[in-house]
């Protein structure tokens, strides 16, 4: 059954090709239905593949040799092991719901398709295809194809409103930043090829074969790739700007799936990362820094989508923290629940924006609870889930991650190079971020739905947008029951086949989620700070009587609002010197160089052709003589060689 993974990848590709090639031959509505059907069928195929993913020996399907050079080769194939199937299910499942939602969202107020439906759905299918290629590939080179592909489709979709200059700029920014990651991955591949003793070095099962400094080098390069794709510090700048794209795109690409590719890469390459001392220090630190940084930025954002974007970055920081120290299960668990509740939050935010005809500034909203109560309820579910309130999914996955980091030190920690003190610090960072998460989510909630009534008049949300929201809300509530602390842990059993190669003789590098029950203190701390955050948000924003004035921030708030001015710093340190150099070159060098090239190349070609032209006499007999001379020369050479032999 594992072979069905081929269909999972194939359906979205066919959908993309059909919509792109048929063009005007299918109606706008037809393109939408085709795209949804492609992703839906892929989801069904992924379910079939899930049944076959238990057996690791047979989960390596559709094997071919891509490049063969002597003993060295690059194979080419798909994985249907638990990890790939897990990701494929998230991508196709959440992707399907978002596709359906998009049918309703991508219409204007009159219900007509907005801009170009076909182009939108073709890009969406292209994205799902490349993402599936990324998560199902069994070698790094093929993974790189998907890696670049999701970057491309993300670029196309962020810039979907191509008449809007800010959207185009954001798309360009995302592409450039992602390309840094692509280069990192490519260089990592080179390092692996050069240093690996394996015959098939790029096969994901073999990349753990590196040793010594080359392992650390490869790990660092792959971390650059993961950091760029998952919008972690310092390559995070593109994610908030990416909110210029349509909201379903933000939900699918910039919350639920594409940005998780970095976490997937770390988990998939755990046999490389878990043995690299450098990676074991860098990744959790990056994750913690990003989680903290993004949470502080989210505290003061006024655009509802930017709040969600920073919160995505913050939650990804959690996943990096967990995956970085070897708690891959916890990272994947949070990835799953995060996909549910973040997609839910984005789509409800999209509903609000859609019903308000494109208004995104929360300060202008308020008191919407009466007018759109169902949307309020859905947003509340998402906000509670992300805050980690019992018994919603976010609680369990966040506990799984925080359970890795003891708050008061412990002696049964794995012997990482990170050191016990760092573990404790990371645990406290996690608690602080949990508090801020609850605060900014409920700040957004109260700003949008409560407080003084705004003069905006929302209109009804169509059913096609509403139904996916219900499904996601149910998933956001129950998605956490894969693991119940102190009771059972389905994930451990599920990921057993991937873990298996580590079990015999190898040191334990895969930390399972702790099922022995929770430290009571931590439970109280985590849920307590979340509830505290909600109350603080209520105290500040829930009881307000007059609208928040729309004006620019000052001082510290401005510092947080602008993302600690990191954008400005990048501009100052990188973009400005390049711009200055470019201007200098245009002014000083361009003209001279162009002239020199003109006279040098052009002149020599001109004189040369003038000389060569003399040989073209036009007499056929002259040319025939040339042939004879050539024949005699070749014959002479052959004869000389024959004599010498």
């Amino acid at each position: 059954m594992a072979e069905a993974i081929g269909l999972v990848v194939l359906f979205p590709l066919l959908g993309f090709l059909a919509i792109a090639l048929l063009g005007q031959m299918i109606s706008q509505k037809g393109a939408a239905i085709l795209a949804c059907a492609a992703v839906g069928l892929a989801f069904l195929a992924a379910l079939v593949a899930l049944a076959g993913s238990r057996d690791l020996l047979h989960s390596n399907v559709w094997q071919y040799t891509w490049i063969q050079a002597g003993n060295w080769k690059v194979s080419f194939g798909l994985y249907a092991d638990p990890l790939s199937t897990f990701m494929a299910l998230i991508v196709t499942g959440v992707g399907f719901l978002i596709h359906v939602y998009s049918i309703g969202y991508m219409t204007d107020a009159q219900g007509n398709p907005e801009h170009d439906y076909r182009r939108f759905f073709a890009y969406m299918n292209l994205f799902v295809f490349t993402m599936l290629l990324l998560v199902c590939s069994n070698n790094l080179l093929f993974l790189l194809v998907g890696w670049g592909g999701v970057g491309l489709s993300s670029f196309l979709l962020i810039g979907f409103y191509k008449d809007k200059p800010s959207a185009v700029a954001a798309a360009r920014k995302a592409l450039v930043t992602n390309t840094i990651g692509d280069v990192g991955l490519l260089l990592g591949i080179f390092v692996i090829i050069i240093n690996s003793p394996q015959a098939d070095p790029l096969n994901l099962a073999n990349i753990g074969a590196l040793t010594g400094s080359s392992r650390d080098l490869a790990a660092i390069l792959l971390i650059i790739a993961a950091v760029a794709k998952s919008a972690q510090l310092p390559l995070h700048a593109w994610l908030p700007d990416a909110m210029e794209g349509p909201t379903p795109v933000s939900a699918l690409i910039h919350a639920a799936t594409m940005v998780t590719a970095g976490v997937y890469l770390i988990t998939r390459c755990h046999n490389l990362f878990a043995y690299s001392d450098v990676a074991l220090v860098i990744i959790p630190l990056i994750g913690a820094a990003s989680a903290l940084f993004a949470a502080t930025c989210a505290l003061v954002q006024t655009d509802i989508k930017r709040v969600l974007a920073y919160s995505t970055m913050s939650q990804l920081g959690y996943m990096f923290m967990a995956a970085g120290v070897g708690a891959y299960e916890a990272a994947m668990f949070h990835l799953l629940t995060h996909a549910f509740f973040k997609a839910l939050l984005f789509l409800t935010a999209g509903s609000v924006i859609h019903s308000l005809d494109g208004e995104q500034d929360m300060r202008k909203m308020g008191g919407l609870a009466k007018k759109i109560p169902m949307t309020r309820n859905l947003f509340l579910v998402g906000a509670l889930a992300i805050s980690g309130i019992l018994p919603l999914s976010g609680f369990f996955s966040k506990e799984a991650i925080l359970g890795t980091f003891p708050l008061f030190g412990a002696d049964n920690l794995p012997n990482w190079s990170l050191g016990n003190a760092s573990f404790v610090i990371l645990g406290w960072v996690g608690i602080i971020v949990a508090f801020m998460t609850a605060f900014y989510m409920f700040r957004a909630f109260f700003l949008v739905f409560y407080g003084p009534k705004s003069d905006l008049h929302p209109h009804k949300t169509p059913n096609v947008m509403q139904i996916p929201l219900y499904v996601l809300a149910v998933l956001a509530v129950v998605g956490g029951f894969l693991y119940v602390p102190g009771a059972y842990n389905l994930l451990e059993k599920y990921f057993e086949p991937i873990r298996a190669p580590f079990l015999d003789g190898q040191p334990q590098h895969w930390l399972s989620i702790n099922t022995d029950g929770l430290e009571l203190t931590k439970l109280i701390a985590a849920v307590g700070v979340a509830i505290l955050g909600i109350f603080v948000a209520y105290g500040i924003y829930g009881t307000r009587t007059k609208p928040i004035p729309v004006r620019a921030y000052q001082g510290f708030q401005a510092f947080l609002f602008n993302g600690w001015y990191l954008d400005k710093m990048y501009d100052l340190l990188i973009a400005s010197p390049v711009r200055w150099l470019a201007r200098l070159l245009t002014k000083e060098a361009d003209k001279d160089v162009a002239e020199a090239l003109d006279w040098g190349f052009g002149g020599s070609v001109w004189f040369g052709s003038k000389l060569l032209r003399k040989t073209e006499t036009g007499y056929v007999r002259n040319y025939a003589l040339g042939i004879l001379v050539g024949v005699v020369a070749i014959l002479l050479y052959v004869t000389v060689v024959a004599i010498q032999r």
Partner: protein, 100 residues
């Protein structure tokens, strides 16, 4: 010197004479005849080789050469006649519109 070596030498000389003829003559008809000389020299060489091997394959090649020679003569002479019709003169040196 055996029979076959002798005929090979004859074919070599005829081939060279034909090649020189193509280069020396301006009359396309005679150039064509020189080309026929070269083809015939090759035929002779092929048959000599076939003789040294004692098999019939070489002769099959000769038949192919004959066919191509016939086809080439038909088309080539057609071109020459067309050229004559256009200029009332046949001289390959007249056709030099491709000079540099």
């Amino acid at each position: 010197m055996s029979q076959i070596t002798f005929t090979l030498l004859v074919s070599a000389v005829i081939f060279s004479v034909g090649a020189a003829g193509v280069l020396l003559r301006r009359n396309p008809l005679v150039q064509f005849m020189s080309i026929e000389l070269m083809l015939n020299a090759v035929n002779l060489a092929l048959i000599s080789f076939a003789g040294s091997m004692g098999t019939a394959e070489g002769q099959i090649f000769v038949l192919m050469v004959l066919t191509v020679a016939a086809a080439e003569a038909v088309v080539g002479l057609g071109i020459i006649v067309a050229m004559f019709r256009k200029r009332n003169r046949i001289d390959v040196d007249d056709i030099r519109s491709m000079d540099g």
